[in-house]
Amino acid sequence: MNVILDLCAGALLVTALLTVWRRSQRGVVRVIAVQGVALAGLVAVVAARTGDANDLLVVALVLLLKGIVLPWLLDRRLASLGALSGVGAPALDDDAPLLNPTATVVFAAVLSIGAYAVVTPLLGDTGDPAVRLTPLGVAVVLIGLLAMSTRGRAISQLVGFLVLDNGIAAVAFFSSGGVPLLVEFASSFDLLLVVVILQVFTVRLKAAFGDTDVRRLKELHD
């Protein structure tokens, strides 16, 4: 059981790293789907420990929303953006990050270690293997923030936001051993709303500037 917990947690961290490492927006969307599944697996392990039936609903919700629906929405948006421009997709597919991926991924590793250094002393000496993983959730949150602040295009920024949200959820699961269904439901709904709004926004961005590079937004200032 602990092995599965460790593996899911490891997958969460590695997928978070992959989102800042890969340039391809499509690849990143695929990665976020894997992360959603890993998060669902994590919740499933925690649920199996507590044996709470409500938690199974949360598992289903996480799997459906974060593993399937949101990535599918993003992927569809990418496809339609490609169709909109009518140019070969690969060139458009690559993100144009503010910081090169090598530096970002090294920075992300430093952040992960930093999360361990800062959070581990706060936890005290509990024997619970799930609580022990809390720093990892914090690391995922930090990497999500990093992705959002260094990525150039709207979709990959959105992915960063999803990583951030997954990280917060993971911290909640690790530290408290579960989240009430209602809270999870509400936060998931929020997330869905944000994604839909941002999707509309990317279409507008594309229409206005012919690109989804959010740096173009500065032009509105002038």
Binding site: D6, A9, V14, L17, P101, V106
Partner: protein, 311 residues
């Protein structure tokens, strides 16, 4: 004495398997791409054909051009004997740091041959090859570090033994991270896609082929066989780390099973490699550092996590 015999056995097995491994990879790729392919024995036929031809060498090359290919293939062969592939009993302790530096040595031989040719391509190949080699090195050594932490030793036989005793080590996050990093390093070191395209002769893309482009006859045979041996040994090592079962604990009847298991694992991984390569394109040379930086981070996390989280 039995260690020497297992060593010799291992060398012979690897010499037989290595060209076959390349043949399998090429054939599987060809079939997946809808071609017939030249058959799994074609690398063997190529080597035999080249071995009969008189090599043509540059006059100014001197002794180096005679010696470097032979030394290169010998170090690759030594690598095959050094690693615990068929049996965990090795002639000298399979210290991973020694393994890595023997690999460095076998990588230098083609680079020197490339530079000795006195033309543009050889230098170009050597330059790219060594740059990638330098970038792979941190991944390799950090992966070694991560692998050695659970056993407290960098001896490969001990690491394999620990993995047989505690299979949980293999699927632990640390083990997987280290393995992922190691696989990327092996691909880069073995000059496979997406780092190098082994079937290209286009000057913009070739790395390994550019170094050997001025070589012919047996010189080419040694360089090719050396790189085939190295790649096969490394793939076999990965196979043994993933599935440590079947490797004989010492000399004796277990060796027969060891040979069969080794051949099966290697050729199976060859098939996997071929399937993966069909779906991959070579990445730009200056994107390779990004790939390798990612693998360094994976290896670093493997080390850091194993030091932070009690095993």
């Amino acid at each position: 004495m039995s260690a020497v015999l297992t060593g010799i056995l291992q060398a012979i097995v690897l010499l037989l398997i290595a060209p076959l491994f390349i043949g399998v990879v090429r054939t599987v790729k060809a079939r997946l791409e809808g071609r017939v392919g030249a058959g799994v024995l074609q690398p063997w036929r190529d080597l035999r054909k080249q071995l009969r031809r008189p090599p043509v060498r540059v006059e100014s090359g001197g002794m180096l051009l005679y010696a470097a290919p032979v030394v290169g293939v010998a170090t690759s062969l030594a690598l095959c004997v050094l690693l615990p592939l068929v049996s965990r009993l090795t002639i000298i302790p399979a210290d991973l740091f020694v393994v890595v530096s023997v690999m460095l040595l076998s990588a230098i031989a083609p680079a020197l041959v490339g530079l000795a040719g006195g033309t543009a391509f050889g230098g170009m190949g050597a330059s790219r090859h060594l740059t990638i080699l330098a970038l792979v090195e941190p991944t390799l050594l950090l992966a070694v570090y991560a692998l050695s932490i659970p056993t407290g030793s960098s001896n490969l036989s001990a690491i394999l033994g620990a993995r047989i005793d505690r299979p949980a080590l293999i699927v632990s996050p640390v083990g997987l991270l280290a393995l992922a990093a190691l696989v990327i390093a092996v691909i880069a070191e073995g000059a496979r896609l997406p780092v190098d395209n082994p079937s290209t002769h286009l000057e913009l893309t070739m790395i390994h082929e550019a170094m050997t482009i001025e070589s012919s006859g047996r010189d080419l045979v040694w360089l090719e066989l050396g790189s085939q041996l190295k790649l096969t040994a490394l793939v076999a090592l990965v196979g043994n780390l993933v599935l440590p079962w079947g490797v004989a604990a010492g000399a004796g009847p277990g060796l027969a099973l060891g040979v069969v298991a080794l051949a099966a694992k290697t050729l199976l991984l060859g098939g996997v490699l071929a399937v993966a390569e069909v779906g991959l394109a070579k990445i730009r040379l200056f994107r390779v550092p990004e790939l390798l930086a990612g693998s360094v981070v994976l290896a670093f996390l493997a080390v850091a996590v194993s030091a932070v989280v009690p095993a």
